[in-house]
């Protein structure tokens, strides 16, 4: 039996963090990250999302993409709760540098300072960056 099969059969749960650093509509990163996060939900792992730098723009309220004729995937962040993905972290400095606060966000998040975010990242088994 391979190591991977052993892990599956013994139900090992690893800590996965997806780190989002890009704004949502100027490139495909944000949507791709969201797709991977949703896939990860199927594997019963300990999943968390971090939003730093321009990544905080992904979860800003009021996005309307009709004018640029692309998919508005922002409501999907609100559905993550239904997949038991409830750990969303935002770096405080990223909000402040963009004139945003928690009320501007479309999901409940934990706002962390840089040191707290660094500690959380270091505590993960796997960090996947977008």
């Amino acid at each position: 039996m391979s190591e991977m099969e052993q892990e599956e059969s013994s139900g090992v749960v690893k800590k996965f963090m997806f780190v989002n650093r890009k704004a949502p509509h100027g490139s495909i990163y944000a949507l791709e990250s969201l797709e991977v996060v949703l896939i990860s939900a199927a594997f019963d792992q300990d999943v968390s999302l971090a939003f730093v730098d321009d990544g905080v723009y992904q979860i800003v309220k009021g996005q309307q993409t009709k004018g640029i004729e692309t998919k508005n995937f922002s409501p999907t962040y609100r559905a993550l709760e239904g997949y038991d993905i409830e750990k969303l972290y935002v770096e405080r400095a990223a909000l402040e540098a963009r004139g945003l606060n928690e009320d501007d966000l479309l999901v409940d998040v934990q706002v962390l300072d840089a040191a707290e975010m660094a500690g959380l990242m270091a505590a993960q088994d796997v960090v996947i960056s977008f």
Partner: protein, 99 residues
């Protein structure tokens, strides 16, 4: 000249370089992720306001709406649609995209 900026001011220095190198009277159009610079309260606001004393700044409306930023636009920035974008390109003798 029309300067076109499509990168977020907090991710790249495209806007910063553009404003440094744009002549008085030039036009600057913010599109795609560049429109985040047009939002109040961000790190780029002071720099942009300073530049608006000598260059005319426009932003693409559809891109602001897509990003939830349409209600936060700094006063004095003129919003244009795709037709307005074409007009700006035609009005100016040249244009430069800051990638």
């Amino acid at each position: 000249m029309l300067h076109i900026v499509n990168k977020s001011p907090t991710e790249r220095n495209a806007l910063e370089s553009c404003l440094r190198l744009a002549l008085d009277g030039a036009a600057v159009l913010l599109i795609e992720d560049g429109v985040y610079a047009a939002a109040r309260g961000g790190a780029a606001e002071a720099r942009l306001r300073e530049a608006m004393k000598r260059v005319k700044v426009y932003a693409l409306k559809g891109d602001l709406e897509a990003r939830g930023m349409a209600a936060r636009v700094i006063e004095g920035i003129e919003l244009v649609d795709y037709g307005g974008f074409v007009d700006l390109v035609c009005e100016r003798p040249s244009c430069q995209s800051w990638l």
